[in-house]
Symmetry: C2
Subunit: 331 residues, 2 copies
């Protein structure tokens, strides 16, 4: 029975994907740029029962919990993606899927990015095919999780590039060791799903202007990464991270992802900078705050964030090399 | 000795003044609309020593404190305004000024609006002149406090109108009894003065778009006031109140006026609405939240806000008739 296991990391966007030309296939309205993480990851084992009919089986676990059958809302987009991949490969059969996330899911940490990247890559391996990275990225994106397009590769990743809206690595992880200190202020699923937020993006009167700013911002970020200019990159990160939320708060109806503790963390980061510690915050479509810094400041940043009122947990992650296959199967 | 006392109320803007064509004379970049309050007010007594030279004397008190000589930062713009008014009237002399605020000053409650409205009107009375309301508004605005232009009259006030950038009443206070329940979350002076914020407004990439939205928004607000359609007005209030902060947070460098408790109050207001209590929030350039509601919901709104974490005090105010002269002199 063809079986494969892949662990794919999450990523933190420095320039955010928000708003789509086609939401089902995640064709984005604008470009984005991210850093692939190392520790926050999804491990997925896919067993392919070729030729068999019957329902796909989907098991899921968070952290060290036991695997258990996934609920319907979790299972449905996975099954849809399995059918899409079968069609792409011209194969027929049913799957057993087991997936484990190393971080709280649906909490503004991009578990759908790592999850769909891992699923896509595990299924491709179970099929015994090895398309190029751009194709892997396109297939991951077609899950509907746009940022999955960026999680199929490591280091610093720009998306989209070219006709097929695939991601491309702009620098490998060992080009520049940056850290992501994550202040968790919320672990419950967010009230408005990213998908609904994307759909509402162009109701913001400011969305069009934002899109017009992104090409220049992409260039500045890529140049800062290439030259390893941390403060230049940090300014882009913080501007864009706030801007995503300016768009959500001016959408119709507005979406407020921030929580009180979110603002307290943003303030703590500004205080750190005032004290001479370069660190820059960003948030995905959620309340948690990612604080990007260089390795020699990580300890100090983590200590400070853990003291902020309302911070439940501090997770330390870093830029990573991307998906791995040298991992224990879950099935 | 000519002496006059005027009490002028603060106002809460439903559509905000932010950004100026001329900051010194407060010629605004866009239109604004406010409700003049009743309780939150400044009382000012002006004694005019005609023909005398020598420094102006400025005494100030908050709430029930004793009057005391004003510090330099408070005194300087007042003296500048006194000189401007003398020049306008073609008069010469020195002033004794005493002013008392009924609410915490410099905390995002517009004490400069009420203060400069009261000062302007008291000085005009001490001069023994009675220019029309548009001229009163222009003179108050020239203090540099734009919203003072709206505080020289009561009820619902639009600004600017016409060539002289004066305010105009769109409806008197007895047209519609609305309440303003103010959740104080901060009483310290804000870190970035409004004046610096105004100056930075056009560094926001979204400022121009905001300006383009205002004429239509002014019409919708005026129509809702005329028809007493509370929910239609409320949507304008809440959209515009957030938008001011989207502009500050996207200015270069960004300004974050919100505090954690600000977000908690905004959330409480959304919860109230979900429970069927129409109430809408707005914030000036500060962390405090004004919650606008109809009289029969005021009690419930005040009770809820007082229970929100981080709310120091709840102040209840309402639409008022504007400046009064039937008040006790301070000198």
């Amino acid at each position: 029975m063809p079986k494969a296991t892949v662990e794919a990391p999450s990523n933190i966007a420095f320039i955010k994907y928000w708003g789509a030309k086609d939401l089902d296939e995640a064709i984005p309205a604008g470009p984005s740029l991210s850093m692939t993480l190392q520790r926050c990851a999804s491990r997925t084992t896919a067993v392919f029962h070729e030729g068999e009919d019957g329902p796909d089986e989907v098991l899921v676990a968070h952290n060290t919990d036991d695997l258990a059958p996934a609920g319907d809302a979790f299972r449905r987009p996975i099954v849809r993606h399995l059918r899409r991949l079968c069609k792409w490969a011209g194969r027929h059969g049913r799957f057993q899927i087991a997936t484990r996330n190393s971080f709280p899911s649906s909490a503004g940490l991009a578990s759908s990015a790592s999850g769909f990247a891992a699923l896509t890559l595990a299924v491709l391996r179970a099929f015994g095919v090895a398309p190029d990275r751009a194709t892997q990225s396109v297939l991951a994106r077609q899950s509907g999780s746009g940022s999955a397009a960026r999680s199929v590769m490591g280091g610093y990743v720009a998306w989209p590039e070219g006709d097929r809206h695939a991601a491309r690595q702009v620098a490998p992880h060992d080009h520049w060791d940056l850290r992501d200190v994550i202040a968790l202020v919320e672990t419950a699923p967010k009230k408005v799903a990213s998908r609904d937020g994307h759909r509402r993006a162009n109701t913001s009167p400011f969305f069009e202007k934002r899109l017009s700013l992104l090409p220049e911002r992409m260039k500045r970020a890529a140049a800062a990464i290439e030259a390893r200019e941390f403060e230049a990159l940090g300014e882009v990160i913080e501007t864009d991270g706030v801007e995503l939320h300016l768009i959500t708060m001016s959408s119709v109806p507005p979406i407020f992802y921030w929580m009180p503790a979110t603002l307290a963390v943003l303030e703590a980061v500004r205080e750190l900078r005032a004290e001479g510690v370069p660190a820059y915050s960003t948030m995905d479509a959620g309340a948690n705050v990612h604080v990007i810094c260089e390795p020699h400041h990580e300890e100090q940043v983590a200590r400070r964030l853990s003291r902020v009122d309302g911070v439940l947990e501090v997770i330390r992650d870093r830029v990573g090399p991307g998906p791995r296959t040298d991992v224990e199967p879950l099935l």
